[in-house]
Amino acid sequence: MRKIILLIRRLLALSVLLGFTALFTGYGLKHFVFLAKLQFWPAVLASSAITLGVIIALTILAGRWYCSILCPLGILQDIAYRLKPHNAQQKMPAKIRRISRLAFLLAFLAVGFLGFGFSWFEPYGLFGRIATALSFTLTAGIAIFTLAIWKGRVWCNWTCPIGTILGLLSRFAPFRLKIDSSKCIGCRKCEKKCRASAISIQGKGGKIDSALCVQCRDCTVLCPKGAIGALLASPETREEARPAANENAEVIERRSFIIGTAAIGAALIAEGADEKIFDGGLADISAPGIDSRNASLKPAGSRSIKNFQTKCVGCQLCVKACPNHVLRPSKRLKDFMQPEMAFDEGYCTIDCAKCSHICPAGAIEAIPSSQKQNIHIGQALWHLDRCIAATEGVNCTACFRHCPVNAIERVEGPAGAMIPKIDVEKCIGCGACEHVCPSRPMPGITVKALEQHRQ
């Protein structure tokens, strides 16, 4: 029976991880997006009562199952832990650990409630960033993975705020794992193997700290006497088993974020091959510069920049899913790694609301794609000193032709050529004009973000 439960647990975990892999490699967006919606903190942000209810109930009754079958970062660490045999006793300084857990939980909540986003230590978002190989979080990913090979679930029990919350909930779970002292022979196999350092054996018997136990259930099968289980005939004798006084405190290396700021491609203006002499070849091109906007642009469905920043966990799922390559993670500290819009590779097409349908955290609320044309997320601004129709008198019709809501008219310009005139009532800020504008290094027409999206 124990073996079967363990097998089911492992199979579930593996399929969830595979599902997430498919999700973040872009092959299974349609089929696996439900996994993202089952994540704990995104569900809190999206106020999805059913998901939360199920997870909380499960945790209160049976402990941190969530950590070993639903959390992709946790499953990843379990796999890492299997890479190396573990026979030494796992001793962690409990006091420092408690302080660390509390500190990270408070930091996480503080950063979030101050409006900088709950993205910093949230495990699902972190997994998403690692899975999409976002350069600076890749370092964090390698650190967590390496740590997991040697010491198991260190991240989960020292840092993870969700782990801490679920740990609190599972404290008195009736179906948590327990050691039957009548069967225990004190061989300490379970204690040595425990990836969460949750077991402490004293004499013949011991205690499993359900706040630390991630329900991997390896010990239930490992125990030669079958002394560990969730349903025990005779419960453990020592309720309050204290960890040994002299612990070898180990210094846990903290991962550090290296905040790299990549210089965005040097812009070169298309070589003015005005009067051609030779045939063939291609003029040099450069991507349009990315405008340093008044504020970062957020997709339709976000309601407001503030709403987005409060709810987004930075999992990068929308970045991955955007068919127009408009979304990318911010590099600023205040909304670090939360997606924002840029139009150098495409623009936000009027028929597409994909990101709103996949966001698990409610940062981008689901909108019907037919509604998109009515949601104003930004406002196009024209620049006299950049637009080539004004500066060079080039007969350009790019923005005018591409505006999906016909917000651009052409009027007499200073250099003879027609220049765009923007109808602010019509413009929804989709960025089509900014994307197709040939002016370099910066586009002659750019989108200003609206703090509050308008309908």
Partner: protein, 447 residues
């Protein structure tokens, strides 16, 4: 012997069942001065590059790819050994590299064993002056490592309208100067290549008594023969051009016998028609034999990027097997089928390039035409293969053309229009394709 019916569908569509064999000597034609010229002329507009493309090609990163001089040397040697003795280049070709490369390749062979044709390619207004024209000729002579040019052409007469023609050659006195150069022997034969405004062609023909054109280069193939006007009403049919020249006894040199390769690759219907005549003949061979059938054709130019092209074309014309009337009729039927698909009459000559805003014009058109030829243009959303075709179309587009070089980024400035010898309204086509692609992408997003 292999049965003529025993060929696979793929062979049937794409090529010959047996490798081309050179069975005899190259057919030679004589011009009015008694020069013996090979019916196949070597065109130096599509020279091979080291990355295995041709030098006028449109692929990303081409600007750094140098022309493969070794391959050109080898091609020229092979061509000369097999009777090809006419080499056509221009100071504008291959981003200005063609003459120099050809000069190097030809310098290994005796000067009297071949004829060089090059052109007064004064397209830019700053080259309109007589001094600039003189400099162009002097540069050509130097680059080609010679003292004289056998065949010198006014390049693309009529392109950009009669006014441009007048500015380039008449008002600046260039034509009078060229007559003197011909007298002095620095130019042995004077002619012109014609594209575009019919007025310029008529003017040149009317002034034949005055200038005594030694030859004229025209675009001729079995589609343009009767249908050039259908493709674009501003064109003249090749039949008219050819017959006008024949009446004046001006030898015709043929360009675009294959329409930039478009007559070498066909959809099932057209290929079936050609293969029904002779399954062993390649698709391209019909185009060469068509031109060669007309006796006033002096030579047929072909830009043969790969040696396989060269061997095949030499084999086709060594010796020429003129077409029978029934074969000509079948080609006319094929031409009518070709006109029925949605292809764009772009021959990838790259005269429009570089687009100052970086658009890959020939690349976009080629991508479109490829879809037409392969019967997979995703134009009919009711078709059961539509979504598959759409995916192929978009994948090919994105794989071959950088997104900033796609039609979406055409600003409609129209600077390319006057350069196109096929007189395609490029900005209009770009806008149409842009809308077409935007719709495909939209469908793909909702699929």
């Amino acid at each position: 012997m292999k049965s003529k019916r025993n060929i696979s569908r793929r062979e049937f569509i794409t090529g010959t069942t047996k490798p081309p064999e050179i069975t005899g000597p190259m057919t030679m034609r004589e011009d009015n001065k008694g020069n013996k010229i090979s019916l196949l002329g070597y065109g130096a507009m599509r020279l091979p590059t080291k990355d295995g493309k041709h030098a006028n090609t449109w692929a990303e990163g081409v600007s750094s790819a140098a022309i493969d001089q070794d391959a050109v040397n080898e091609h020229v040697k092979f061509a000369l050994e097999h009777g090809v003795n006419y080499f056509d280049t221009s100071p504008a070709y291959c981003r200005g590299e063609s003459e120099r490369v050809m000069g190097e390749a030809l310098s290994h062979h005796p000067r009297n064993s071949y004829f060089i044709a090059t052109k007064l390619s004064n397209f830019a207004p700053q080259q309109y002056s007589l001094e600039a024209c003189k400099e162009l000729l002097a540069n050509s002579i130097k680059a080609l490592r010679t003292d004289y040019i056998d065949f010198y052409l006014l390049h693309s007469v009529g392109n950009g309208g009669f006014e441009t023609f007048s500015k380039r050659y008449i008002e600046n006195g260039a034509i009078e100067w060229l007559l003197e150069e011909r007298k002095a022997g620095r130019i042995r034969n004077l002619g012109f290549s014609y594209h575009g405004d019919p007025k310029a062609f008529e003017w040149c023909i009317e002034h034949h008594e005055q200038y005594h054109w030694d030859f004229c280069q025209i675009q001729m193939n079995y589609v343009d023969w009767l249908h050039a006007k259908e493709v674009n009403e501003r064109n003249l049919n090749a039949k008219y051009l050819y017959e006008t020249l024949a009446a004046k006894n001006i030898p015709a040199i043929i360009m675009e016998p294959l329409l930039g390769g478009r007559l070498a690759r066909f959809n099932y219907a057209v290929a079936s028609k050609l293969k029904s005549m002779d399954p062993d003949s390649s698709i391209a061979s019909w185009a060469f034999r068509f031109c060669g059938t007309y006796p006033n054709v002096l030579t047929i130019l072909s830009g043969m990027t790969y040696k396989e092209h060269l061997i095949e074309n030499i084999a086709t014309l060594s010796p020429l097997k003129p077409l029978t009337q029934s074969e000509l009729d079948t080609l006319e039927e094929a031409a009518q089928l070709i006109l029925q698909n949605n292809s764009i009459p772009c021959n990838l000559c790259q005269y429009c390039m570089p687009c100052p805003y970086g658009i890959d014009i020939p690349g976009v058109f080629d991508n479109w035409n490829k879809a037409c030829i392969e019967d997979r243009l995703p134009i009919d959303s009711a078709s059961e293969r539509h979504s598959e075709n759409r995916e192929i179309f978009l994948n090919e587009l994105d794989a071959q053309i950088h997104h900033l070089r796609q039609p979406e980024h055409c600003i409609g400035c129209g600077k390319c229009v006057s350069h196109c010898p096929q007189r395609i309204d490029i900005p209009k086509k770009m806008e149409e394709i842009d809308v077409f692609i935007a719709n495909l992408r939209k469908e793909a997003r909702h699929a």
